[in-house]
Symmetry: C2
Subunit: 342 residues, 2 copies
C-alpha cells in the first residue's frame, strides 16, 4: 500500500500556497532553426522540441548538410552541437492526439499520457449517443510502435486499463466514446477499491459539478511520487512496469485539475487540484483529503496548468462549492450508466 | 548495487537489432492552432507542445476567449477540449538551452536533462582556452524556479554533480567550459568508482575517438530502468530523489550515443550506443559489455536519435574501431587535465 499522506506531505512542502504563488511565465521562444545556426548564443530558451522546424535549418549552416561546407564555424565556436539534428531531433515528442471529446499528450518513456484534457457541460452530459458496450480498447497507432502501449502489456498485469478521460463523459456520441478507449487515454490503475470504486466516485463528482457550473474543464494524468524509506530516511520513487519486456509504468498516483467556469466570457473559474494514490481507498475518506495546492501537482508533474489565468478570476473550487463524493455501488453505477446510455 | 546485466537484458529483449530495425519517421505535424479550432479531428498527430502557437488561436474560436462567443461548437461536437489552453498550455516544455559547446533538453519532472548533445573535433580538443578551476556550478535560471535543479538539492546528497557533457570537452574557451557547469548539464552521479573513475575513462575514450574520426557527436543522458524483483518476479523502476523537498531524480543508468563521422559530406557515420549503471564499475570491465542496440536506448528513454540517418551511411562503432578504455588514475588525470588546460 502507498503511504499517501507521506508522499502528499512532501509534495505540499514543496508546493506552498499554489493559488497565491507567483506563476512563472514562459520565456521568449526561439525557433530551433535559430538555435542550430547560432550555437554560440548564450541564452537558454524554454522552447519546445520541434522536429518540423529542423527541416527549416538551411543546409549550408549544418555540418555535413548536403551541399553545405564540411566544417562551418558558426561565430567563433570551433564546434556545432546543433549539427546532430541533421540525424533527427531526439525529442521528446508528445504525440498529441486530438479527439472529439479529449486532447491527450503522451509520454513515450512511461507509455502513459502526460495529461488528457476534456470539457463537459450539462448539455454534453445530457446528450445520449454512445454506449460503452460498443467500444473496444484500442492501441494508438498514432504513437510509433516502439513507444506504443499495447493491449498485451496490460493483459494479466493485474491492473485495469484506467480511462483518464472517462468513457461516461463522452456519451454524447459513439465516436467520441470510442475514442476514449485509445490506450493513450489509459494508465494502469488498481481496479477494486480504486478505478471501479473511489476513482469512479470522483469522476462522478466531476460530472455533478455541471449541476452548478455550465462548463467544466478537467485535466487528468499520472504521477510518480517519492516516498520516504523508514530504514535509510531517503526518498525513493518506485513503480512497477508491466508488459514483456516491461514497458508501461504503473503510476503511484493520479491527479485531476478541475476548472469550473461560470459561463461568462472572462468570468470566474473555480480551480481544484487533487492527487489520489493508485491504491484502494476507503469510500469513507472525504475527497477533500486529497485536495492539494495546484503548484504541488505542477512541481510533481513538471507541467503547468493555469499560467494565463489571472489570479482575480480564480476561486478555490472546494470553497466555492461542496466537494463531496456520492458513493454508489460499482455494479449499480454500471447498470445506471448502461441504461442511461441507451 | 544495481544488477546491470539484468536491466540491460530486459532492454535488449525489447530492443532487437537497432541498426537494422525499421525507423519510424515522424507523422505529419499539425499546429496546435489547428488542433484547438478543430477538436473533432480524429487524427492523432505527433506534434510537439508549442506554447507560442497557442496565442495564434483566434480568440473567437476559443470558449470564453475575449470577445468570442460564450459556447462555440466546433463541428458537431458539443464540447471544446482545446479551450483549456486559454489558461495556458500544460507542456511538457523542454527548456532547450543553446550553449557554445552543447545543447541541452531539460526534463522538468526529474529535474535532469533528457539529453545533452555536443560536438568535438581534433581541433576543438587541441584548442586551449578554459580551465575548470575558473568554473563554478550554476543553477540554470532559464528553467522556471519551481522546476529548477538547485545547488542545495545536491548538497550533502552523497552524489556528484555529474557533467553530461564533460568540462574537458569544452576547454577551447573559458565561456564554453563555464557553460558546461549549469545544473541543466548535470545529473546526480555516484562519485567514486563511477563519475570519477569508469565514467571518466569512458569520456576519455570518446575524446580519443577524434584520433581516428575528424568529427564526433555525442548525446548523453539519464535513464530510469526497471529491474526484476526476485521475490515477486515483477519489474520495478526505483530511484532516489535528492533535495528537500525531494526534487532531483538519481538516474539508475546513463546512456551515450556516439556518432563518429568520417568528415565527408554525406559520408559514413560510426554509431555506438552505450548504457552504464550509475554505480561503481570495475575498471577491468570492458566498455563493450555496455554496448547496446541503439533502439534499446530509444525504447528506454522515449527518444529517437538517428531517424534521418540512412542505414547505408551507418557503421557499428565498435566494429569500425576498437572500443576499449584507457584506465588512468583519477588524480593523475585531473593533474594532466589541469596542466594541459593552462
Amino acid at each position: 500500500m502507498f503511504k499517501t499522506s507521506v508522499a502528499i506531505a512532501a509534495l505540499s512542502a514543496g508546493g506552498g500556497a499554489a493559488l497565491t504563488a507567483a506563476i512563472y511565465s514562459l520565456r521568449p521562444k526561439d525557433r530551433i532553426a535559430d538555435m542550430a545556426s547560432s550555437s554560440s548564443s548564450l541564452s537558454s530558451t524554454a522552447i519546445v522540441s520541434s522536429p518540423t522546424a529542423v527541416t527549416a535549418i538551411p543546409a549550408n549552416q549544418v555540418f555535413g548538410g548536403p551541399g553545405g561546407p564540411p566544417l562551418p564555424v558558426p561565430g567563433t565556436a570551433p564546434v556545432n552541437p546543433g549539427g546532430l539534428f541533421e540525424y533527427g531531433f531526439p525529442g521528446p515528442v508528445s504525440d498529441i492526439a486530438t479527439r472529439a471529446a479529449l486532447i491527450s499528450s503522451y509520454d513515450r518513456r512511461t507509455r502513459n499520457p502526460h495529461w488528457v484534457v476534456e470539457h463537459i457541460t450539462p448539455e454534453s452530459l445530457a446528450t445520449r449517443g454512445g454506449d460503452r458496450k460498443n467500444s473496444l480498447f484500442l492501441e494508438d497507432d498514432g504513437v510509433p510502435a516502439k513507444f506504443r502501449a499495447l493491449l498485451k502489456d496490460y493483459f494479466r498485469s493485474g491492473y485495469d486499463r484506467g480511462h483518464q478521460v472517462p468513457a461516461a463523459d463522452a456519451k454524447w456520441s459513439q465516436t467520441a466514446m470510442d475514442e476514449t478507449f485509445y490506450l493513450s487515454n489509459m494508465c494502469p490503475q488498481v481496479g477494486e477499491g480504486f478505478n471501479r470504486d473511489y476513482w469512479a466516485h470522483f469522476e462522478d463528482f466531476c460530472r455533478r459539478l455541471t449541476q452548478r457550473y455550465p462548463s467544466v474543464r478537467i485535466v487528468t494524468g499520472p504521477l510518480y511520487l517519492p516516498k520516504k524509506d523508514p530504514v535509510d530516511n531517503k526518498w525513493y520513487v518506485k513503480y512497477e512496469m508491466i508488459g514483456t519486456p516491461p514497458s508501461v509504468a504503473v503510476p503511484t498516483h493520479f491527479y485531476k485539475v478541475i476548472f469550473a467556469e461560470d459561463g461568462r466570457v472572462g468570468g470566474n473559474v473555480a480551480v481544484g487540484a487533487f492527487v489520489l494514490p493508485n491504491a484502494r481507498i476507503d469510500n469513507a475518506k472525504p475527497i477533500t483529503d486529497f485536495e492539494v495546492p495546484l503548484e504541488a501537482v505542477e512541481r510533481a508533474s513538471g507541467l503547468e496548468f493555469a499560467n494565463l489565468l489571472p489570479m482575480q478570476r480564480r476561486k478555490r473550487l472546494c470553497a466555492d462549492t461542496t466537494c463531496a463524493l456520492v458513493i454508489k455501488d460499482y455494479n449499480d453505477r454500471q447498470k445506471t450508466f448502461a441504461k442511461s446510455a441507451k
